[in-house]
């Protein structure tokens, strides 16, 4: 069958007419397949949600137990029949529970990557390429200037700054889901075993990660105790907070903080400067340019559909490579802070 008949873009998101379901819909629908727990992909209010058990738990943690009328848990690789369409989930390596959605019907197989990356992430299963007719790839960092450096090197920058400025708190802005826990895991792997302080908004997600088997080491809430001298408690400490908290009144409790920000956008100096970041850490949960192009070559689909980010550049690259490629122009997916 024609791929457009199996999956096509609609204002609510990618829709599968024969299976009557949406993938990562941005509006409430009857049946949603959700690739991962980030807010722009996983919204509350759907009639039914099919996702990995981890993603369902993340959604319940973020939105409350009643985020959907019906949960359908699908283990990785478990084939589900949705009105005759076969669907299964494959690891995407983006955050805990993240998956690609594989859709197969009448001999046509399409893979929706969701958000993904190829490099190692100690908090989730790695991306697995799936041969297919149509690959629908994200392109958040779809420009050849985005080449994320080695993660360990970026984390080492943070450790070095802690040594250089032992009297200053180090405030690390990181997405509350995924990035924060990944940074913490990397710090642990690189020998940092002191207590890491976390913003209140991260507490429940960190607890969930622990419960799902991702050990994060000693954590404590970044709250100032009653009484004097509490500000000094954060000297030379690592404090992880959501990016939005870095410029908020909350950040004032720390002594002359070093503002660090873990994000793929930190690759571009002007972006880092604009945000007032003193220590940019180029760590992203999205594929960089090389990962995107390597993945397309490896999967080698008959067609490449591009969504979510710099569609023009990746489509251009694919065409120069002699591939069939098109932009999808889906709207509603924002990864400004990754």
């Amino acid at each position: 069958m024609k791929p457009e008949a199996l999956l096509h873009p609609t204002p609510a998101g990618l829709y599968c007419p024969p299976g009557d379901f949406y993938i990562d819909p941005v509006r409430p629908v009857d049946r949603a397949v959700v690739t991962h727990g980030h807010a722009d992909h996983a919204r509350s209010g759907h009639g039914a949600v099919l996702a990995t058990p981890e993603t369902l738990e993340i959604m319940a943690t973020r939105y409350g137990e009643d985020f959907t009328e019906r949960r359908q848990s699908a283990e990785i690789g478990e084939v589900v029949n949705l009105n005759g369409v076969a669907l299964w989930l494959v690891p995407a390596g983006h955050v805990l529970g993240s998956a690609q959605a594989v859709v197969e019907h009448k001999g046509t197989r399409m893979v929706v990557t969701g958000d993904y990356k190829r490099r190692r992430d100690p908090t989730c299963a790695g991306f697995e390429p799936v041969p297919c007719d149509v690959l629908i790839s994200e392109a958040t960092f779809g420009l050849p200037v985005f080449r994320h450096p080695d993660t360990a090197g970026e984390v080492a920058k943070l450790l070095h700054s802690l040594e250089q400025f032992p009297e200053r708190a180090h405030l690390v802005g990181a997405y509350a889901l995924g990035k924060a826990q990944r940074i913490i895991r990397h710090l642990r792997e690189q020998g940092y075993d002191e207590t890491i302080y976390i913003h209140g908004a991260m507490q429940r997600l960190c607890d969930l990660y622990e419960r799902l088997g991702v050990p994060l080491g000693p954590l404590a809430p970044a709250t100032v105790k009653d009484g004097r001298g509490a500000k000094q408690d954060f000297e030379g400490k690592v404090v992880v907070c959501p990016p939005s908290a870095m410029g908020s009144t909350w950040a004032r409790r720390f002594p002359d903080p070093v503002i660090a920000f873990a994000s793929g956008w930190m690759r571009v100096r002007q972006r880092a400067k604009q945000k007032g970041v003193e220590l940019p850490l180029i760590v992203s949960d999205h594929a960089d340019w090389d990962e995107l192009t390597d993945t397309v070559r490896e999967v080698d689909p008959h067609q490449l559909w591009v969504t979510h980010g710099r569609e023009d550049a990746l489509v251009r690259w694919a065409e120069v490579e002699g591939r069939v490629a098109r932009p999808l122009h889906l709207i509603g997916y924002e990864d400004e802070n990754d």
């Binding site: 050849p144 200037v145 250089q164 908020s248 571009v268 002007q270 880092a272 970041v277 120069v320």
Partner: protein, 542 residues
């Protein structure tokens, strides 16, 4: 190159001065000779390689990547060097990574064509930061917002020496500064090798009310405080230099002064611009005119004609081989007067560019207060008091020299935009753009006239910050647009030192050193000042 690029990356993003000094001293400790010396020269811009043009870098990139993709990337990133550094495809297997020393030594000794070949090879071996640093170095575009002065402070800190000693030596030293580093690490102090060296300057204290009883006016000599920039003009044989007060050589922008130094002397004075239409003596133009000639590496003939510079001398530090600094001020003054008179008599029709800052007779506090409040010229910003017996010592010795600046100008303006600060203030809206009323087609509108980011206490900052957050009408990145109309708006009393005409500002005026002097929570926004009030404060036209 990688270590140097890492240093630049840290310095670019670090707002705090002390933090920058620590990053520099740690680097000096870690990097070997001669690399650290080349790094110092690159940052202080004493290293001019400029072997490659930006356009050549672009052509080089086109040979390696799809031009359309590069153009999209360049568009997105903005800076060519950065886009090129980031997009360059890696070539695994390059096993020699060039150091900064390799880069400097090689690029200085090759032709343009050879340079491009070398750079291409190094691009393959470096990472993105390293490539960026290399491009900036090779195209002569290294600007990272670190003043030469700060590097000297860091060197002083590293070696535990007073910064004045480094300033004094500086112009006799050459990159990569091996003798300097050796001294800072306990070796012998390098001989002061340069002719016409800089001599660290003596500074004054501002007079507060409480100081007055401590100052015996009978021991003091009074002068005007000129509104120019403090310089030191030195000639020794063929060597002629004009230094800023921190020892930066700014002579390149003032060839008219360099050409008119007939004496072997070191003169401390104020750099000013005079009115070329007044033949008589130097009729001083306001600071705004001098501004046209500052911060340039070179100057056009036209500019030198329309804005001729001169030095109003007030001290003589060295004369024909003799160090006068140990002499009392009175005696140095007498020698200075004698020198200027002698030169004037020697060539009365020559192109003189030095005159004397007169001693003014202001015997008591009343006379001083009157003179300070009503100076005879726009180019005077207050009065100076110098102890007649004072010897010339670097820094700010207690009780020797005093300055009493005129009261600042004041204006009531309305806050229009607020921006988040840096470092300790990064969670506060602490930088404010303010405006005054101007007639427009439909009633009045605010026109921005300046920016201020200090003058308030921490307590006040917290209040303003809350006001900004509560009254935001739009956001643009770190900037918030704050409600400001006839009915609502925060009035700031702004103090500033002077006002000039400006074509770069929509309002047509530019303030010097604006700061918040008072928060007018009580004042309705519609009662803030108008642009006419400011225009009336402008100095008369040339």
């Amino acid at each position: 190159m990688i270590r140097f690029a890492g240093l630049l990356d840290r310095l670019i993003f670090t707002p705090g001065r002390n933090a920058k000094v620590r990053i520099l001293t740690d680097y000096f400790r870690e990097a070997p000779d001669p690399e650290r010396g080349w790094a110092v020269a690159a940052i202080t811009r004493d290293l001019d390689i400029k072997t490659i043009k930006a356009g050549q870098i672009k052509q080089l990139v086109y040979t390696r990547v799809d031009g359309a993709l590069f153009d999209m990337s360049h568009d997105y990133v903005g800076d060519l060097a950065e886009a090129a550094a980031l997009i360059w495809p890696e070539k695994p297997g390059q096993n020699y990574v060039p150091t900064l020393t390799d880069a400097v030594e090689t690029l200085n000794g090759v032709t343009r064509t050879e340079a491009l070949e070398v750079v291409e090879r190094w691009f393959d071996a470096l990472d993105a930061s390293g490539r960026w640093a290399l491009i900036k170095l090779a195209t002569g575009g290294l600007r990272i917002g670190v003043a030469a002065r700060l590097v000297k402070v860091a060197l002083a800190e590293y070696g535990g020496k007073p910064v004045q000693e480094i300033e004094e030596l500086w112009h006799g030293l050459k990159p990569p500064y091996l003798s300097l580093f050796s001294w800072l690490e306990g070796g012998e102090k390098p001989a002061s090798a340069a002719a016409a060296p800089f001599r660290p300057v003596m500074l004054s204290h501002p007079i507060e009310e409480a100081d007055k009883p401590k100052i015996d006016l009978a021991e003091m000599s009074a002068e005007w405080k000129w509104d120019g920039i403090r310089v030191q003009a030195v000639r020794e044989g063929d060597e002629r230099r004009v230094y800023s007060r921190t020892g930066d050589d700014i002579g390149g922008a003032f060839p008219d002064i360099l050409a008119a130094m007939p004496f072997d002397a070191a003169i401390d004075g104020e750099l000013l611009v005079f009115d070329p239409h007044v033949r008589d003596r130097f009729a001083v133009r306001p600071f705004n005119d001098l501004q046209q000639r500052l911060n340039r590496k070179t100057v056009s003939q036209k500019m030198m004609k329309s804005h001729p510079a001169f030095i109003r001398a007030y001290d003589l530090l060295w004369l024909e081989g003799e160090d006068l600094r140990p002499l009392p001020f009175e005696e140095r003054r007498a020698r200075l007067e004698g020198l200027l008179l002698r030169e004037h008599r020697a060539s009365p029709d020559g192109d003189e560019r030095f005159d004397l800052s007169e001693v003014v007779d202001l015997p008591d506090w009343d006379a001083l207060a009157t003179a300070r409040a009503n100076p005879p010229l726009d180019a005077i910003e207050g009065v100076m008091l110098k102890r007649r017996s004072s010897v010339y010592v670097p820094g700010r010795p207690k009780g020797e020299w005093w300055k009493w600046k005129r009261e600042p100008f004041l204006v009531d303006a309305v806050m229009m935009y607020a921006q988040r600060g840096h470092g300790k203030r990064s969670s506060y809206y602490s930088d404010y753009t303010f405006g005054v009323w101007k007639d427009a087609e439909n009633g009045r509108e605010l026109v921005p006239v300046g920016k201020a980011y200090h003058g308030f206490t921490d307590e006040e900052l917290r209040k303003i910050d809350k006001y900004v957050r509560d009254n935001t009408i739009a956001r643009y990145g770190p900037v918030r647009s704050v409600r400001a109309d006839e009915d609502k708006g925060l009035v700031l009393e702004i103090a500033f030192e002077g006002l000039g005409r400006s074509t770069r500002h929509k309002s047509g005026v530019a303030m010097r050193f604006p700061r918040v002097s008072r928060l007018r929570w009580d004042k309705p926004s519609r009662e803030a000042d108008t642009i006419e009030t400011l225009e009336a404060m402008l100095p008369e036209e040339a």
